[in-house]
């Protein structure tokens, strides 16, 4: 079987020849800039120019050469967006201490110059909005269209037998786009105390997301195997908002969007959600998600045995290979090997598992730990 067949087999809850691998390509399975440099050094690759993929998280596109060395079964499309008009909000600048950039949504990001590894949220378009009148001042960005020239890349990956993924989406999720416009505290408070301000926003967001997928499938239709919508429903301790709110207010939008995406093409849909989401997982499955990523096994009630036994037949786990909050950054290589093998044994049974780290590989991962994980995968991935 080729790599794509291997991935699709696992996504259909059957055991392929071996557990599929995603290191460096799919949603939240990528490398930060500083880690990638260590990986290039490990492989003795000297002249590769870094290609940035995501500015806030400082993620890179790993080259095909590196992905092949790792044995990655998945490829991520480098979509070629064509902007529709001037952005009302976008701007970049710096001062003595920080770099700033404001994106099309009016969300301001800042990265400290000293010890800065990431851009983080620093301001929002409607941070001071008091009421619906103020909310109406928000200038919506327009979904990009895409250059048909980008099809060639996905065609060549398809021909070479890779599974094609896209991680891009319009805005963030139905829970998590609001915070980028109003600030976390304002949006979260609005959800419970002024939901009438939230609903019109989410209605419009759904409409624009559908337009985004129209544009994506117009150009890349037939070449995409996996899509992804990020919407962080979880924290370290439990869900961010009540499971009831997730079920009644947020997932109906996701369901409509998922149904729409599936009407456009035969794809599997990922929910990227950090944190502890177990309490909401039955509803997440009901809303039409096929895959959960990154599978934060160190969060409450997210242990591999619990997840696989309760939900393994109904959702694919894409991630969850190794704990990136403690073992991978701070453990010994031996601890990394033990945990990697254990998680593979649990998640890999009966398919429904694509191996990756829990979320992107960051700067604080020692290269010897990453290699210990990777070697353990290679030694134990065959069914």
């Amino acid at each position: 079987m080729n790599r794509r067949e291997r991935v699709l087999c696992a996504l259909n809850h059957k055991e392929p020849d071996r557990i599929p691998l995603d290191l460096g390509a799919g949603c939240s399975c990528k490398f930060t800039k500083y880690f990638y440099v260590k990986l290039l050094d490990y492989f003795g690759i000297k002249d590769e120019e870094l290609e940035m993929c995501h500015i806030p998280y400082q993620l890179v596109y790993a080259s095909d050469q590196v992905l092949d060395l790792l044995g990655c079964d998945v490829r991520a499309a480098r979509l070629k967006p064509i902007k529709q008009g001037e952005s009302y909000y976008a701007k970049k600048w710096e001062d003595e201490n920080s770099y700033f950039y404001r994106n099309d949504w009016g969300t301001l990001y800042r990265m400290p110059k000293l010890q800065g590894l990431y851009y983080d949220l620093a301001g929002c378009a409607l941070g001071d909005a008091e009421d619906e009148e103020d909310d109406k001042k928000f200038v919506w960005p327009t979904p990009d269209k895409y250059d048909k020239a980008g099809r060639k890349e996905l065609e060549s990956y398809r021909e070479a037998g890779f599974a094609n993924t896209i991680s891009e989406q319009f805005g963030n999720g139905f829970l998590q786009t609001g915070p980028l416009i109003w600030s976390f505290e304002n949006w979260l408070a609005m959800l419970v105390s002024e939901p009438e301000r939230c609903t019109p926003f989410m209605d419009k967001l759904l409409e624009k997301k559908m337009e985004f997928y129209d544009n994506i499938f117009d150009v890349y239709g037939g070449l995409i195997d996996v899509t992804s919508e990020a919407d962080d429903f979880g924290t370290q301790r439990g869900t961010f908002v009540s499971p009831k709110l997730i079920r009644e207010m947020l997932l109906p939008y996701h369901k409509k969007l998922n149904d729409y995406i599936k009407s456009k093409g035969d794809v599997k849909i990922t929910l990227h959600s950090c944190g502890s989401v177990t309490a909401a997982l039955p509803d997440i499955i009901e809303a039409g998600f096929d895959i959960l990523n990154p599978v934060q096994i160190s969060a409450a009630d997210m242990g591999p045995e619990l997840l696989k036994s309760r939900f393994g037949k109904d959702i694919v786990f894409w991630g969850g290979g190794i704990n990136t909050q403690s073992t991978l950054p701070n453990g010994t290589p031996e601890q990394v090997r033990e945990e990697t093998k254990r998680n593979m044994d649990i998640f890999g049974k009966d398919g429904g598992f694509v191996f990756s780290t829990v979320h992107n590989v960051q700067d604080d991962i020692p290269i010897e730990n990453f290699i210990a994980m990777w070697e353990t995968f290679q030694a134990n991935c065959k069914y």
Partner: protein, 211 residues
């Protein structure tokens, strides 16, 4: 239901808009401001904190309750002037250098303020030097909190705690640490006095320190 109980319910359910009316009515009825604060407000936030800890309510409900509490306390302040019996101490808190995440830290600040501390929130990306400066500038500060969300900024917590100890300030302050990747083990390793997994636990620890 007494007026104080109504205030308590208004806080528990985040009814910020009716707080002004309720506080004015309570004062007009002759309720002592300190009783309104302790029984109507601090107690209510304590209940909110316990519900949050038990996953009966979530971040949005905590936030609206804290906003209602803040509104109530602001309304009471002129009537409480000079009454220091509610003050347990001063809490300096911040998210450490290199980290800009603050939802958890803000919840901790709200809960510890509700528990009776005066709070100085240094914000995010707070350097070691800034923590030290703030502690020295506030000799009545008896508790310091350090927060981080990222594994990559945990070293900043370690560095700041070490610097506070080296500056001889551990006689003055207790140190509490928290954030998603933080564990009791990490707190013990770096010499912090306590680790809190959530805002309610942080408030309970803060109260216990001065009991």
């Amino acid at each position: 239901m007494s007026k104080i109980q109504e205030i308590s319910k208004a806080i528990e359910f985040g009814k910020k808009k009716i707080m002004k009316g309720l506080v004015e009515e309570a004062l007009a009825e002759g309720c002592k401001p300190i009783d309104i604060l302790n029984q109507g407000m601090i107690e209510a936030m304590s209940v909110v904190g316990e519900k949050f800890k038990a996953n009966e309510i979530y971040v949005p409900e905590m936030l609206v309750a804290a906003r209602a509490m803040k509104e109530g306390v602001e309304l009471l302040k002129p009537h409480l002037a000079g009454d220091k019996s509610a003050v347990l101490g001063k809490f300096i808190v911040g998210t450490v250098e290199g980290d800009l995440h603050d939802i958890g830290k803000n919840l901790v600040a709200m809960m510890i303020e509700s528990a009776g501390y005066v709070v100085i929130d240094l914000g995010v990306d707070v350097s070691t030097e800034k923590f030290i400066e703030a502690i020295k500038a506030n000799p009545d500060c008896n508790l310091v909190g350090l927060s981080a969300l990222l594994t990559t900024t945990m070293p900043s917590i370690k560095k700041s705690v070490a610097a506070i100890i080296e500056a001889g300030l551990k006689n003055q302050v207790k140190i509490i640490v928290g954030g998603a990747p933080i564990t009791q083990e990490f707190a013990d390793l770096i010499g912090a006095d306590a680790f809190a997994a959530d805002a309610a636990s942080a408030a309970a620890i803060a109260k216990a320190f001065v009991a």
